[in-house]
Symmetry: C2
C-alpha cells in the first residue's frame, strides 16, 4: 500500500461538524491518504512525509460527490423523445416503457457495459459513490439481473420493481403489487440494499407504496421513495412515517410536507437535472432549508427525464434555479448524498473516513456554479481505486 500526501491545498472542504458548520472549510491544508482511508489532516506546513506527494498548488479540494439517485441499468437512448419534448410535442412511443422494452431485450453483458460506461463518466466528473436502481426490467428475472448488474458497479443497489406498472399488468395493478412484494422481492432482496417506489399519479398510490416499502423493510432493505415530481403526493409524509432514508424529487410539496421533512431524518433529495431536461418548474430548496430539512442533490441519471451524469452541472443549476448558495449546493452533493444513503464514512474529509477526494481545477468550489459546464475536475482519488 502506498501513502499519498496532498499538500498546498488552497481551500479544503471538510463537511466535518467537528471543524465547523456546513462545508466546514480550512485554508492551506494538507491530507494523507493510505489504504483507501484518510489518515492525517493538518496545516500544509506541518505535513508528514508520504510515499507519493501531490502538490495541489493552491487548488480547492472537496469530498468526492455522492450521487444518491441514478438509473444506470438500461438499454437504448431516447434522444428523439427529448427533441420532441423540447419542441413542445408529445412522442407517442415515448416514456419509461420504451426503456423497459429495450432493457428486457438486451443481454446482461450489454447492460453491464453501459452501466460501466456511465460510472466511468461519473467518476471522471468527480463522483466517487453512486446509488443505482433497477426498475427497467419489471419481471422477476429482469429485475433480479438488473440488480446483479448494479451490484457489479456499486454497493448502493436499490430494488425499484415499483417504478411503473408494466404493460402486461395495466389492467391489474394489485396483481403487480403482489408480484413486487412477493416473488420479485424474494428474487431481488439478496442483491439490494434498498427498496424504492414511485408514489405518484400514474404510478403507485400511497397504499400500494406503503405495502411495497414495508415488505422491503421486513426483508432488511432500507426504504427510499420517488414522490412529488409532477404534483403533490401523499408519498412524502409516508416516507417520513416509515423513516425512509430519502424522498426524491420533492418538486411539489405542501406546507405539511415541508414541515414533516423538517422534523425528520428523511433527506429531501432534489434532482435539478430533471427539471432542466423536462422544462418543469424547479423545487423550492430555500423553503426546505428554512424548515430544517436535510437537502441532497443527485443526478437522477437515466435515459428519459435526466440524462446528465454531471454533479457539477446539477450544482450549477441548484445555485441558479433552486437558489441554493454554492456552499449549500456543494454540501448537498456530498454530505447530503451521504446522509441520503445513511452513510457516515463518505461525503466528509476527516481522519478515518474513506479516501474519496477530488482536487478541483479552481481555487474555490464556487467555480462549480460560476463556471457552468466547464470540466473542473483536476484529479479524483477514491477508496476503490486509490
Amino acid at each position: 500500500m502506498t501513502s499519498t500526501l496532498i499538500d498546498n491545498i488552497g481551500l479544503l472542504v471538510t463537511n466535518d461538524p467537528q471543524v465547523g458548520t456546513g462545508t466546514a472549510e480550512r485554508e492551506s491544508a494538507a491530507l494523507v491518504l493510505d489504504g483507501g482511508i484518510i489518515r492525517w489532516i493538518g496545516d500544509s506546513r506541518d505535513a508528514p512525509a508520504a510515499d507519493e506527494r501531490v502538490d495541489a498548488a493552491g487548488r480547492c479540494v472537496i469530498p468526492g460527490f455522492v450521487d444518491s439517485h441514478s438509473h444506470l441499468v438500461f438499454a437504448g437512448d431516447r434522444a428523439d423523445e427529448f427533441e420532441y419534448r423540447m419542441a413542445g410535442r408529445s412522442y407517442s412511443a415515448g416514456g419509461i416503457r420504451r426503456t423497459v422494452a429495450a432493457t428486457r431485450e438486451a443481454s446482461s453483458g450489454a447492460l453491464l457495459a453501459n452501466a460501466r460506461r456511465l460510472v466511468a463518466e461519473m467518476r471522471a466528473q468527480g463522483t466517487t459513490t453512486v446509488e443505482v436502481k433497477s426498475g427497467y426490467g419489471l419481471t422477476v428475472s429482469d429485475e433480479a439481473r438488473s440488480l446483479e448488474v448494479a451490484g457489479q458497479v456499486t454497493s448502493e443497489t436499490t430494488f425499484l420493481g415499483a417504478h411503473v406498472v408494466p404493460p402486461e399488468f395495466a389492467d391489474d395493478v394489485a396483481a403487480y403489487v403482489d408480484l413486487v412484494t412477493g416473488d420479485m422481492l424474494t428474487a431481488c432482496a439478496p442483491f439490494a440494499r434498498w427498496i424504492d417506489v414511485f408514489c405518484e399519479a400514474g404510478a403507485f398510490d400511497v397504499d400500494q407504496a406503503r405495502a411495497i416499502l414495508v415488505a422491503g423493510q421486513s426483508r432488511g432493505l432500507g426504504a427510499r421513495m420517488h414522490a412529488a415530481q409532477l404534483g403533490e403526493s401523499a408519498g412524502v409524509q409516508l416516507a417520513v412515517e416509515l423513516d425512509a432514508a430519502s424522498v426524491d424529487h420533492c418538486t411539489f410539496l405542501s406546507g405539511a410536507d415541508v414541515d414533516a421533512l423538517g422534523g425528520s431524518s428523511t433527506v429531501a433529495t432534489l434532482l435539478p437535472g430533471v427539471e432542466f431536461s423536462t422544462r418543469q418548474p424547479y423545487p423550492d430548496a430555500r423553503r426546505l432549508i428554512a424548515a430544517g430539512a436535510t437537502v441532497a442533490i443527485a443526478s437522477d441519471c437515466n435515459p428519459g427525464s435526466s440524462y446528465t451524469s454531471s454533479m457539477p452541472f446539477c450544482i450549477a443549476v441548484a445555485v441558479r434555479d433552486l437558489r441554493m448558495t454554492p456552499a449549500e449546493a456543494l454540501w448537498a452533493a456530498t454530505a447530503g448524498g451521504a446522509q441520503a444513503l445513511r452513510r457516515n464514512d463518505i461525503g466528509v474529509i476527516a481522519v478515518g473516513k474513506r479516501a474519496d477526494v477530488v482536487i478541483l481545477d479552481a481555487p474555490t468550489y464556487v467555480h462549480l456554479a460560476y463556471r457552468p459546464g466547464v470540466p473542473l475536475i483536476h484529479r479524483v482519488f477514491s477508496h476503490d481505486a486509490p
Copy 2:
C-alpha cells in the same frame, strides 16, 4: 504533411447549403483531412486510403464550434461577486471596473498565460475558432497590449476600448470617446480585425457608438456591437445601419429591432451563459428565427457575467431556455458563429474548407442538450494543429 481519414461516421453535420438546409446532415460518411483542409467527403464504404485512419465507430461528427464573442484578456477572478449576486445581494466593489484594475496591474506574460489557459480549455470542449476582445485595459497602452496578447491566441481580435467608461473619465465621457476614436484607435488598429462598442444605458449612447464604429471602419476594421443586454437599445438598429457583422446579447428587442435584424446581414448573437449566470430573462430566439434573422450562439466567456467557456453548455441552455431546436442551436454555435465573423472557411464541413472537425462521444449532436454538463468531446481536429 499527413493525411487523415475519419470513417464510420454515424451522423455527419455539414452545415453545407449544397447538401441541404440548416445542419445538412449525412449518414455513414467519411472525411479526409490533409494540410489543415478537408480534401474529400463521401460514403464511408467509398473512402480512399490515407496515412492515418480514425474509426469514428458510429459517432456523430460536427464542425468545430465557432465562439464569436469572448473576453479572454484579463486578470483576476470574481467568484465572490458571483456568490453575492446569486444570493440577491449587490457587491459594492464589483463590476467590470474591478477586472480593469486587475488587468492594468498584471504583466503581459500573466495575461497571455491566462488567455492561453482559457483557449486550451475551449479547445478541449470543441471550440476551434474564438474571437477575443480587449476592453479591460481602457488606456492606450493597456488596450494595445491586450490586443497584442489576443493576437497570440487568435486571428479574430476585437478592439473594445469602448467597453465601459473608465473611472478617470467618469466626468467627461466625450473626452474618452475622443481618446477611443483617436490615439487609442491608432495604437490598437494594427492588432485588431474588429471594432466593438457596448451601446447600453450606463456605457455608451447611440451617437457615441456611431462615432466609435465609424472611426473603426475608416481604419479598415469590421464593426460589431454589444447591445440590448439590460434593456432595449438603439444600438441594434445602428448595427444594422452600419452593416455590423453582429449585434451581441439581443436580450431585449423591440419589434422594429427584430424586423431590422431579419432583413439584414447582421447576425443576432445570443449569449445564454450571461442570462444563466446573472439570472436575467433569456432572449427570444424563436422570434428572431421567425423573422428570418441569422442567429449565432457564443459563450461571452469573461470573469464577470459569464465565466463559462463551454459551447456545449451554451447549446443546452439555448435548447431549454431559448427554445431553439438542437439543430438550430448547433448550427448557431458553428455556422452562425462563422457568419458573425464573416468567415466562409469555417463552421462548415465541405471540401476545401478548414479541417476544424469534432468527433462527439455520442451518436447525435442532440446529446449536447439531452446530456447537459457531460463532457461529450471525443476528439478535436483543427486547422492550426492537425
